[in-house]
């Protein structure tokens, strides 16, 4: 490798993406094909897959075995839990959250989608858009994954017919736009045969778009930090109290969004006290400005009472603080969530007590209908919730910030992660009043 190549690799951008598909849509095969054809599978891994495939009596290496890492997954031939895969091309590095498609693991897709910059929704060309497809699209929309790819798989089994692809792509795109997904890239593929995953297909002359990998390599990543309001949750206060740094007091944290500059007037929430940034230490170097997602240490002109859980924000764009939260949630735990439950709420670096005041509605991801006032939410349910917290929180709407608009509910008795929350309104919020016949007007 030349020095130029190395510099290129070092400076490459990072795309996190998640895959979603029903059990037999061939998701593991697609992921295996992506890794295999991009030469990200090394000889010893392939040997292990070939050995295991032979052991199972299979004629050809089963690429799905590359990704199913747990004993129980290999035994049952299904993916139980989210796994992370890493691969790189000269243009970009990738972190893939490989999420299971089973209905009972919707929470795992929510988990994978929470950090993804792109979601690949897989459809079997023979079956077209099914309930599970709609569920996956809804989760991607709810979690605000910036880019959605529809991979119409098993094109080899429908004679590589353009009409089949066009009909599925049309139906999905129409559904996605109702969910507020701006743009869908639809790609006809055969994961088994390798069409349009990494290598362009020789069977579909009518398709002029990119392969899955080309699209992953070229989709824009990240957002322009200058377009969002700056937010800095304080993680840890650094006070060395050593002879060289007697008066050093720095507020360490990761910038959640936006840009901070030396000289900015800032407010500290929830107290509302104000000061000015005098220095930004970016892991060892002093800088004039820093932006998300950098981990830095801020120093302020005034000695304020600031601790873990506080939010530093420019005085010009401070969010309101509130103890009453309305949000869309995905319930994750086996134990149900009920009105009146006392929970812990973790938002950025702050954990407070909270009470579930009400469950206004539960959303069916299959057809986007609402059940008003359910008695409880069970695992994998998506619903609306209102909460009252013991202390004020500076929450942004999730539509503005995936970092400062998200939270977890935690069981205070044993620490179980109960629920994932997204503050503010979303398509999961029914237009008031909630109709009782299950119909819902966009």
């Amino acid at each position: 490798m030349t020095t130029t190549d190395m510099v290129g690799l070092a400076a490459a951008s990072l795309l996190r993406f998640a895959t979603a598909g029903s059990v037999d849509d061939g998701k593991s095969t697609l992921v295996g094909r992506l890794l295999h054809d991009s030469k990200s599978v090394l000889a010893d891994q392939l040997d292990a897959v070939e050995r295991a495939s032979r052991h199972r009596g299979a004629a050809a290496p089963d690429l799905a075995l590359l990704t199913d890492g747990l004993r129980a997954e290999r035994e049952q031939g299904i993916t139980i839990d989210v796994a992370h895969r890493y691969f790189a091309t000269p243009r970009r590095r990738f972190i893939l959250a490989d999420t299971p498609g089973h209905v009972q693991y919707t929470r795992n897709m929510v988990t994978g989608a929470s950090t993804a910059g792109l979601a690949v929704v897989l459809v079997d060309a023979r079956n077209g858009v099914v309930e599970q497809t709609r569920r996956h699209a809804a989760v991607a929309a709810l979690l605000r994954v910036p880019h959605v790819v529809l991979a119409v798989n098993k094109m080899d089994l429908v004679g590589y017919a353009e009409s089949v692809f066009a009909a599925i792509a049309g139906e999905f795109t129409a559904y996605a736009s109702r969910l507020g997904i701006g743009e869908v890239t639809a790609i006809p593929v055969s994961a088994l045969a390798g069409d349009n995953v990494v290598v362009p297909s020789a069977h579909m002359d009518w398709y002029g778009g990119p392969t899955v990998l080309e699209h992953l390599e070229s989709v824009p990543v990240g957002t322009d930090p200058t377009t969002s309001a700056a937010r800095f949750p304080v993680q840890y206060v650094i006070r060395p109290q050593t002879p060289g740094h007697r008066d050093y007091r720095g507020y360490a944290g990761q910038i959640a969004c936006g840009v901070f500059r030396v000289g900015d007037r800032v407010a500290v929430l929830p107290s509302g006290r104000t000061s000015t940034i005098t220095a930004i230490d970016a892991l060892g170097t002093s800088v004039d400005l820093a932006w998300a997602p950098q981990s830095v240490t801020l120093r302020l002109a005034d000695d304020l009472d600031i601790s873990r859980g506080d939010l530093i924000t420019p005085t010009t764009s401070a969010p309101p603080t509130t103890r009453d939260i309305e949000a869309t949630v995905c319930h994750l735990a086996d134990r149900p969530l009920r009105t009146g439950d006392r929970v812990l709420l973790k938002h950025t670096t702050r954990t407070v007590k909270a009470i579930v005041k009400d469950l206004p509605s539960r959303l069916s991801l299959d057809d986007l209908t609402h059940t008003p006032h359910p008695t409880h939410l069970t695992a994998n349910d998506i619903g609306r919730i209102t909460l009252r917290t013991s202390e004020p929180l500076a929450l942004d709407p999730y539509t503005n910030s995936r970092h400062t608009g998200s939270f977890l509910l935690i069981d205070p008795t044993d620490g179980t992660t109960l629920t994932a929350g997204m503050a503010g309104t979303s398509f999961a919020a029914p237009a008031a009043p909630v109709s009782t016949d299950g119909e819902w007007d966009f």
Partner: protein, 296 residues
């Protein structure tokens, strides 16, 4: 725009600070291998100019490479760190552990590790594990709750969303924390190159005595090699991973600089563990099974 290495660094620092902010008694596993060295470098940056607010814990198998132990002691002294050592040899000497027939001590580490965690009441234990290393590790969370026996149950893991890590645990339980989860072997080397981090010399090509066993070059030593019929020879080699001498193999290499190492692993057709770790070859689920028992 930030490069992918910048993003990974920033996230790892975030993880260190979360643990320091939420736990009472964290500790960092430190073996003197490249991953733990990178982990320590990140911890030093996360809390600078203050000191790292936790101690190090080394599980010493008794069959460590001398260069690595020397390196360990040097960095501990240089940064004024506190080091706890949990010794497999002590456990064997007093009868709490028995030597295995194959001479490998890697699986024996779990017992002294869990004993040290219990005795010091550590509630968070940083490990340098990376998800790209092995398929069971690909399923690992950044914060991984372990029960009172140190066990990992992959079916009962907490979902991990956004960057909201849940460190709640009951008395007796602890959390394993993996700040390098999203680094790959290449990322680690690129970070070492960028930050100019010093490594033990065995990571770079050097002549040493080795003998062949099951397709790997092992270093002779008091741990029990070579056996009869195994011939020692001098070769130009380096190590891709550093662990117990009985199961860590060297690879043929002439890479004497970081740049040459990066070029070598970029071109390699073998994974780091496939090339150099005997213990992962024991069965298809070797790592998963060890992790269930409390191995990091």
């Amino acid at each position: 725009m930030l490069s992918h290495v910048d993003v990974l660094e920033s996230e790892a620092v975030h993880v260190f600070r979360e643990v320091a902010g939420e736990f009472e008694r964290p500790v960092m596993l430190f073996s003197g291998g490249k991953d733990s060295i990178v982990m320590l470098h990140l911890a030093l940056k996360a809390f600078a100019p203050a000191a790292v607010p936790f101690a190090l814990l080394h599980v010493d198998t008794g069959h460590n490479f001398p260069e690595v132990l020397a390196y360990r002691d040097r960095v501990v002294a240089e940064h004024g760190l506190r080091l706890h050592v949990a010794s497999v040899q002590e456990f064997i000497d007093d009868g709490r552990l028995r030597e295995r027939g194959d001479g490998t001590r890697n699986p024996l580490q779990t017992v002294p590790l869990l004993e040290a965690i219990g005795r010091h009441r550590f509630d968070a234990v940083f490990g340098g594990g990376r998800r790209d290393e092995e398929k069971a590790r690909a399923k690992e969370r950044v914060f991984s709750l372990r029960d009172e026996f140190g066990g990992w149950d992959p079916r009962r893991q907490r979902p991990e969303l956004w960057q909201l890590y849940n460190g709640r645990h009951a008395p007796g339980e602890h959390v394993r924390v993996f700040p390098l989860s999203n680094f790959t072997e290449l990322d680690v080397w690129q970070y070492i190159a960028r930050e100019k981090i010093e490594l033990p010399s065995i990571y770079f090509a050097h002549e040493r005595e080795v003998f062949a066993r099951e397709g790997m070059w092992l270093a002779p030593g008091g741990w029990g090699g070579p056996r009869e019929g195994e011939r020692v020879e001098r070769r130009l080699v380096r190590y891709r991973t550093v662990g117990d001498m009985s199961c860590t193999g060297a690879v043929d290499s002439d890479a004497v600089t970081i740049e040459a190492v990066i070029a070598e692993i970029t071109a390699s057709r073998l994974t780091e563990r496939g090339a150099t770790r005997a213990d992962d070859k024991l069965s298809e689920a070797a790592m998963e099974d060890r992790k269930r028992e409390g191995y990091f």
